[in-house]
């Protein structure tokens, strides 16, 4: 008999993340690098352990190898435990059937045994594609205090942006009476962050019912939450304030990286009380050469920098040669930028090479409707000398 865990976290990491284009062609979205030395999933994994939840199932399906290898035994996040810890849970063959995860709810349904194994009272459902720092233990305390069946974390968003989110309409007490997915005329500004706590016995019942419904999309937002609301279950909002960003698009991924550079953005990674952990690459310190000029930038271990870096995030092991210019851009791990290359408002994937005098991206004063025209070069791509990539263009990768 395994020890009981009050709360087990389930992290949905199986999505393809098609809107990130070439960046997620070979890796799942949660494995995409972020903020100089992290992966997107580091934020949820670190939040989980920092919230004293030590049992987490990571549900993978799309391109899982990179993610599986990255998570490993969970040690970098202190999730290598005698009982509990981090588990990568891909779909598997069962006695009666075996199938892919059909939707977010189905992914949890297929892992009912995993949650039951820990006698969990509550289940925390997380997505692996958000950048934020949050203490889930406070949300759990709120859930218990309200004697809720389901608690949904919500963020106050500007009313003009509310129609991009799933909006929770709740009374003063936070009791949800209506849920609208991307409403044209939003009635409130409380946007769902895709973070749910369920009382497990209740959720399990609804997952089994949902599975029996052949017309269901097996999705939390589309099916489980609406049917629980219909049945008048106790559902509450949990107000979160602080930095939170869905990095599901190139534009938002770029913006969130720029927020790391901006002290006023609310995204502070250097708070020692809430560390974000990452798997360590054992790189030496970075070296800044005699020809480098650097202003407002983040540079990580293993880099060799001899060019000009302004408003940019440079990941581990990237090399920037003398005379290269990088502005308002993100250069992912192991990429080489040769002399005379110019990179502006761009994301360069990992292990790429930008050859001499190539021009990637174009300067932009501001974005139209929050959609920046970011040039993207795929991981492993080699951009020939003198080549040009226009603003908003996406270049396919090599076949390394």
């Amino acid at each position: 008999m395994l020890a009981s865990k009050q709360c087990v976290a389930m992290l949905l990491a199986g999505g393809q993340g098609t809107r990130l284009g070439v960046l997620t062609q070979r890796v799942a979205k949660p494995a995409v690098p972020f903020g100089g030395k992290y992966r997107i999933i580091d934020f949820t994994l670190s939040n989980t352990i920092n919230s004293d939840i030590d049992t987490i199932g990571v549900l993978t399906q799309y391109q899982p190898f990179e993610l599986n290898q990255y998570i490993g035994n969970g040690q970098p996040w202190d999730l290598d435990r005698l009982e509990g810890g981090a588990f990568v849970l891909p779909p598997y063959q069962k006695a009666k059937s075996g199938e892919w995860y059909k939707g977010t709810a189905n992914a949890i349904y297929q892992n009912i045994d995993f949650i039951d194994r820990y006698n969990a009272e509550y289940v925390l459902i997380l997505s692996g594609d958000h950048i934020y720092k949050m203490d889930y233990s406070k949300m759990l305390a709120h859930h218990i205090e309200k004697n809720a069946d389901c608690t949904i974390a919500v963020l106050d968003v500007p009313i003009e942006e509310a129609s991009r989110f799933g909006i929770m309409n709740a009374d003063k007490d936070g009791a949800i009476f209506e849920f609208e997915e991307k409403p044209k005329n939003p009635k409130s500004t409380k946007a769902s962050m895709g973070i749910y706590i369920f009382t497990w016995a209740k959720l399990k019942k609804y997952l089994i019912m949902d599975e029996e419904d052949k017309n269901s999309h097996n999705d939390f937002g589309k099916n489980i939450i609406p049917s629980m609301l219909n049945d008048g279950q106790r559902m509450f909002t949990y107000d979160f304030s602080g930095y939170w960003k869905d990095v599901g698009t190139i534009s938002s991924l770029w913006e969130a990286n720029m927020d790391v550079l901006n002290a006023d953005s609310g995204l502070n990674l250097s708070d020692s009380r809430w560390k974000i952990y990452a798997r360590n690459m054992a790189e030496p310190p970075h070296f800044i050469g005699s020809n480098a000029t650097i202003s407002n930038a983040i540079i990580s271990e293993g880099c060799e920098i001899d060019g000009e870096i302004v408003n940019s995030v440079i990941f581990q092991g990237a090399h920037v040669e003398k005379g290269a210019v990088i502005r308002d851009s993100i250069v992912m791990p192991g990429t080489i930028v040769r002399s005379g290359a110019e990179i502006r408002h761009a994301i360069i994937g990992w292990n790429a090479e930008i050859k001499e005098s190539a021009k990637i991206g174009e300067y932009q004063e501001s974005a139209i409707k929050g959609e920046w025209q970011i040039a993207v070069v795929a991981p492993d791509a080699v951009m020939p000398a003198g080549s040009i990539v226009k603003a908003g263009e996406m270049v396919e990768g090599g076949n390394k």
Binding site: K275, A282, P285, H286, I294, I299, E301, V313
Partner: protein
């Protein structure tokens, strides 16, 4: 398990010549190269060469070493079979005091050596930063049939005692002598790293101990030269022997040379260290950094030239740091200018200071001090 080598490392050595840098720590835990401790190079080389049973003999001030190594996980040495064993200073019932020299030290861990299933022992100091492939050296050792293979490197003698090796064309050692007079002449200097057949080592140490000998080099190796059983293995690449303040400063600054870094870090074999989960380094709008090695977690708003910054160093606006080494957590406050300084961990240089050491005599500021 077909491991061939077990390693015994000495955490202490030359502390007196390293002045204030080793007041609080062993030589093994001396910070080096922006994010490492000297022992990291040793441990990483062993692990990368397939040596995973490692004993570390301590003498004094070893709490910083214990804190650094913990269970050895950061070097992949938290193993069921082997891994790291740290031996706290061991007081022999016979002598009732902590060991005086390497012979006594080895005698205190003789059980560990005897019980190890491996046939060869690496006996090594921990004050060398280099990329060493012990597996390749063992092959040579077996090929020559030597009792001992001594690792050596061309270097100058400095203020610390160094053993000078004379060898013939077949690498057979023909003479060993200890020298303590600084000179500019490059000689073949012992790295105090040996590969020795286990049975030989055990019998040498037992016999030398029973006769009251102390010095492993002088009392054993120097005498064995006559038996034509000691071979030398010369390391061609970069190897930094850190045994006084001058070599510490000089070898640190050499890391600003790209070719040196490639030799030390560029190979497929990585150098591991304790993971601290620092954030990447942040360069402010007014920063100006040239020719410097910078670890993670720094915040730089001032000027840094020809310097090494360890993890979590803060350089405030208007501050200028030149030709200096700032260890972990150091802060140089507004408009202070320092050059040729080595500041230990958590040192704070207050505002508007203008301080300078000299290239041949860098100024050391002791851990936790405020200037």
């Amino acid at each position: 398990m077909n491991k061939k080598m077990v390693a015994v490392l000495f955490a202490s050595g030359n502390e007196s010549k390293l002045n204030e840098l080793t007041i609080h720590r062993t030589t093994a835990s001396l910070p080096f190269g922006g994010r490492y401790r000297l022992i990291d190079f040793c441990l990483s080389n062993l692990v990368n060469s397939g040596v995973t049973r490692i004993g570390i003999v301590t003498k004094n001030n070893y709490s910083s070493l214990m804190d650094h190594i913990r269970m050895g996980r950061d070097w992949d040495l938290n193993r069921k079979n082997g891994g790291i064993t740290v031996f706290p200073p061991f007081v022999l019932n016979t002598s009732r005091e902590v060991y005086k020299g390497k012979i006594e030290a080895l005698y205190t861990v003789l059980e560990f050596i005897k019980r190890s299933p491996e046939d060869y022992v690496i006996v090594s100091n921990t004050n060398v930063a280099a990329n060493i492939k012990y597996d390749e050296i063992l092959e040579k050792h077996v090929e020559t049939g030597a009792d001992v293979t001594m690792l050596c490197h061309k270097a100058c003698v400095n203020s610390s005692k160094r053993v000078i090796i004379t060898k013939n064309a077949d690498n057979l050692v023909t003479d060993l002598r200890a020298v303590e007079i600084p000179s500019d002449e490059q000689q073949l200097v012992s790295l105090n790293m040996y590969i020795i057949r286990k049975d030989t080592l055990v019998s040498w140490v037992e016999q030398a101990y029973s006769r009251g000998y102390v010095d492993f080099e002088k009392d054993i190796l120097f005498k064995e030269v006559a038996n034509n059983n000691i071979y030398a293995y010369e390391l061609d690449g970069y190897a930094a022997i850190i045994d006084d303040v001058k070599t510490y400063y000089y070898e640190s600054m050499k890391l600003l040379d790209t070719a040196t870094r490639e030799e030390l870090f560029g190979a497929a074999s990585k150098i591991y260290t304790k993971v601290k989960d620092s954030v990447p380094t942040m360069f402010g709008a007014k920063s100006s950094v040239k020719n410097s090695l910078i670890a993670d977690g720094c915040v730089i708003n001032g000027t840094v030239e020809n310097s090494i910054l360890f993890r979590g160093v803060v350089i405030e606006e208007g501050a200028v740091v030149k030709d200096s080494i700032i260890m972990e957590g150091g802060i140089v406050m507004k408009n202070s200018k320092i050059s040729y300084f080595i500041t230990d961990k958590q040192v704070v240089i207050r505002e508007n200071n203008q301080l300078s050491g000299a290239y041949t005599y860098p100024t050391i500021v002791v851990k936790n001090k405020i200037v």
